[in-house]
Every structure is written in C-alpha cells, then in structure tokens.
Assembly symmetry: C2
Homo-oligomer: 330 residues x 2
C-alpha cells in the first residue's frame, strides 16, 4: 500500500451526541427498545428533549468516532459528513479536526440543524439512541472527495448512511472510486434495525462491494435473517473477504474464506457507557490492518480501543490510544 | 422561614463549559496560571478554541451549578442569568430546567452568543478556566425577578457577576430586595483574581450586604490582602455573619462571630476534575441551612456534594445528590 495519503477515509452521519443518564423507566415511558437506534424527526426531537434529564454534549457519529480513534492511534485519517454552520456544527468540526483527522466537507449554510443523537445511558452501561438526522440529509455524492477516497488505503462506510436518502448515492460513489483506485472498502452494519430497514441493499453491498465487514452478533444475524449465530458466521463466508464480528465482553471473531480466528478481549474493570464500542473496535482493527498487522493482532487492537471507550462516558477517546496501545502491548 | 417559594434563588453568569483534557504544557503555551479563571473576548475565544483538543460541552456557570445542586438535593431553587436564544443557550436552559430548578430569565434574541468557558482539566484534576462572557454582558437589573428574590430564603450571588458591567447593578438590586423582604444574601467570592479585580467593592459587600460568605483559602486571603490564612479568618469575623471557607481535601471552616467550626470531608477515592467543587459545596451548605440544619451539618453536606462533583468530569451532578446524602447520612 504505497502512495497512500490516508490510512482510512470515513464517511458517515455527522452527529453531536447528547449523553444523558437514564433509568430503565424512562426507556419504557418513551417506548424504546434498549440498545438500538431509533430515528426521530425535528418535532419529536424537540418534544423528547424536554422530557430528558440534563445532558452532556459530545461529538459522535459512528464513522466519525472510528476516524477519531484511528487518528488517536497514530493513523492518518480523513472524514466526510455534513453539519450545518451552527454552534453544534462548529463543535463537531473542532472535535474531529483537533483530534488530528482531516475534515473538509463544507457545512450547510441553510436547511436543518446539525444532527443530534440522544444517547440514553442506563445503569447497566447500555446505550439506547434517538437520532435526529438534521443536516445529514443534505450529504450527497457531491460531498465525496474523490482525491481523498482514491488515496486512502481503506474507505470506511457506516450502515447508518442508508437512512438519509442522498447519502446512499454518496456511499456507492465512494465505494466505486475506492475500488477503481485499487483500494479497499469497509462497511459497518451499525445496528440490527438499520440492517432490517435496508437488508436487501446491505446484502448486495456485502456480496459485491465490501472487503472488510464489521458487525456485532445481532447485526450479522439480522443480515442473514437467522437466530443462529453460527449459521450467520457460515453464511458471511464467501461474501466479504474479512468479516470481524464483535460479541461484547466475549471478544470478537474474524471470519475469512478459510479461517475463523477467535480473539478474546481484556476485561474492563468498570464498564460505564458502551456508546462507541463497535466504532472504536473498527478503529483499532483498521489501524492494525493498514499498518500491515495480522488479523488476530487487528482484532486485539480493536478490543483495546473498544475497552477504552466503554470505561468512560462518551464515544470519543479520553486519552491517547497510541499511548494506551504502547502501554498494553509494549 | 415560612412563606418561602424557593429555598435558594441564584444569580450568575449563564455559561456552557467546554471541558478538555489538557497537559500542563498547554497551560504554559497559553500563558495561563493553573487553577484560575481568565476572561477572554470573542476573538480570543475563537483563536484559543482552535488550539484546544476535542472537548465535551456541559452546562456550567458557578451559581447555576449551585442551583442545580440544590435541586438535586431536593430543595426548591430558582436561577437568573442570561443566555442567547442559540443552540448552546437552549442546552443551558434545558439542563437547568430539567434538573428541577426554575429558570425564567428571557434569552437575548440578538447580541453576543451564549457564554462559553474553556475548562482545561490537567492530569492532577485541577481546572484552569478561560471565560468568554458573551450574552452574560446583557444581564441587567431588569432581569432580576423581584417576586422570586423576595420569596426565596436565601439569594445566592456569585462574585463573577462583577465582571460583566451591568450585572453588578442586578446584584445590588437583588441584594436590596432580599434584605427588604427579610431574607438572607449569600455571596461566593468565586476566584482570587476576580477578588483582586473587584476587591474594594467586595469589601463593601461583605461588610454591609452579605450574610453568608463562601470562599476558599486563596480567595479569603486575596480579600484581606494577606498571605496569612489565620489572619484572613480573624478579619472576616464581624463582617459576614457566617463565612464558610473551603480548603480542598482538608475540608472547611465555618466562621461566625463567636465560633470557628472545623469540618473534615470524606476522602474521595479518585479525584477526576475539581471543576464545580466550590459551587457544590455551597449547594450542600445552603441546602442544609435552608432546611434548618446546624452549621457543622451544613458544612458536612457541602463536603458530600463537592465530593460527588470532583469524582467525575463536569460541574453538574452525575447522580441524585438527595440519594447520595441519604446513603451517606442515613
């Protein structure tokens, strides 16, 4: 992989998280399934916000969290996503650029506000999300920077991009550019309900366009419409060249055409908030991959990065992941 | 104290904190003294923000933190302060109202943006602050709600109100209304440099208008222009009826005309961020005071509330302080 400008270029919904501590009763009152992401419109966002306890605002967005993770690990990373030119949009831009990633997508001057995701963190450290897509609905193929994609070893796309209608075209355009340039395409399935909403399209993608697939157990089973995890693992083989499947505290599995690698993760003393666990797993994995590490090492790096993110509130690293990895692996 | 609608009414600069993890080297590069608050203008705020690492936004403001603490302890609390009607202003309003405090001050439709404070948290858990006052400069006597002040057992004022010029008039108006109605006035000295900036006025206040004074050791010494803590304690006697002086991990002292009560505080296992320690001490103390507790119990409650706030990032409680107090004191 010579001549690359970026190790990873990520495209995703550019979102500011509003993190709130919530009791299970609040999920019940709002009629929410724990652990999943639900889309809400602007009016719902206003109404729900009024019923939420005090919060903490922190930049989020699945692929953005991954890209910041890669920068924190020492990789060269670029991000594309759409904010509005408003206060939260400027916060989002600051947080990704100051983490060391390139973020050149123009902000929308008009239209809906920068996207927000209410992240309800329950005492069991699970997160349940309500997303108002806002300015993300303005992201389209014109926002895909061809030079960046063509010069990134891996282009990383979040499944959530299939929710705003225009972003899907941007997704396919980026995947096409990457493959045309001889680069790799990686997809995160994002959420089991997101998979269900767009299952046929995701199946096409995974069969024809995705080299490295990220999913957790629920997502991979949703993709293959099975309740049998082992069957889902068997069926993913032959689609993506590499599928990294996370299983929470049980670690992860890496499935290739001829192998299944089982990698444990270090226990985390005190799990505070699981927001971003999958995003940072992908960061660690892709960082290892673009540094030429073997798949087991990639999965191990994914576990270390995910372990950091779940030990505190918020989905962005609270410390240098490069320093953390150096301390753990020497 | 019959016929009160609120236990405590607070007036302060309405500020959203931008919390960032910072190494000591960043303070050096920015030429900042650790632990103090420096005022910056809008242009400086823009420039400094660019040099800061990724942050987390959280409602702050000294008196606002105290008022939220009182609501979390189960007291009835009201707040007055000025935000702009912008995204961060709406975040500030949500966070104080959803904590259970009344906040009726109209937002500014025009003029500077909602105030921000960059809070640089160093690895030693100390915080160093840079404040852009923004919309706080629009707060004036017309924003003082006479009915609220006259019906609050204690009106609590932060010394930082002496930085924006109009707020000082609001401060004096509120103190006058409170005393006219037979209520008490409490002042926090806020910061040693703030004391130095407004020392003569603070001396007048403490001598003639303040019933309950809050300060830490550095602030009380700045007020009396002495390096001798014991001398400062001697000199505060005869001014405010009650002076509660905090000393970090050493606990606090409560000075009255005829007594000095020394109260230790429980050790905190892991101090993460000292932002809001003084604000939450005042919350615990004033909550005890307005519930008729003795001064030693007030100081103990102050220590418990401060202990919670320094155990995590941010200056707003991450749990119900009423439940915490019940667990600690039974």
């Amino acid at each position: 992989m010579t001549d690359i400008r970026y190790h990873v270029a990520g495209i995703g919904n550019a979102i500011v998280d509003v993190l709130v501590h919530a009791e299970d009763g609040l999920l019940t009152r709002l009629g929410l399934d724990k652990g999943v992401m639900t889309l809400i419109d602007g009016a719902q966002a206003e109404r729900i916000y009024e019923s939420l306890p005090p919060g903490m605002e922190c930049s989020g967005g699945s692929a953005a969290n991954t890209i910041v993770g890669i920068a924190s690990l020492g990789g060269r990373a670029a991000y594309m996503g759409k904010v509005k030119d408003d206060q939260l949009g400027r916060v989002f831009r600051h947080d990704i650029a100051s983490a060391g990633a390139s973020f050149q997508t123009a902000a929308a001057a008009e239209g809906p506000a920068t996207a927000r995701c209410f992240v309800l963190v329950t005492p069991d450290a699970q997160r349940t999300m309500l997303t108002y897509l806002g300015a993300c609905t303005e992201f389209g193929p014109g926002d895909v920077d061809e030079a960046v994609i063509a010069n990134a070893a891996v282009t990383y796309l979040e499944g959530y991009l299939y929710d705003p209608p225009l972003a899907k075209q941007a997704f396919l355009k980026a995947a096409g550019i990457a493959h045309e340039a001889g680069r790799l395409v990686s997809l995160s399935l994002s959420d089991p309900f997101c998979v269900s909403r767009h299952r046929a399209e995701f199946m096409d993608l995974v069969s024809g366009h995705v080299d490295i697939l990220f999913a957790n157990d629920a997502e991979i089973m949703a993709l293959f419409e099975t309740d049998d995890f082992d069957e889902a693992l068997r069926r993913v083989r032959g689609h993506a060249a590499v599928a990294a499947v996370t299983r929470g505290a049980k670690g992860s599995l890496v499935v290739t055409d001829d192998d299944v690698i089982v990698v444990a993760c270090d226990p985390v003393a005190h799990v505070v908030d699981t927001t971003g666990a999958g995003d940072l797993y992908a960061a660690g994995f892709l960082h290892g991959f673009t540094q030429g590490r073997d798949l087991a090492a990639c999965a191990r790096l994914g576990g270390i990065a995910a372990g950091e993110i779940i030990s505190h509130i918020g989905a962005r690293p609270a410390q240098s992941l490069a320093a953390l990895v150096a301390a753990k692996l020497g």
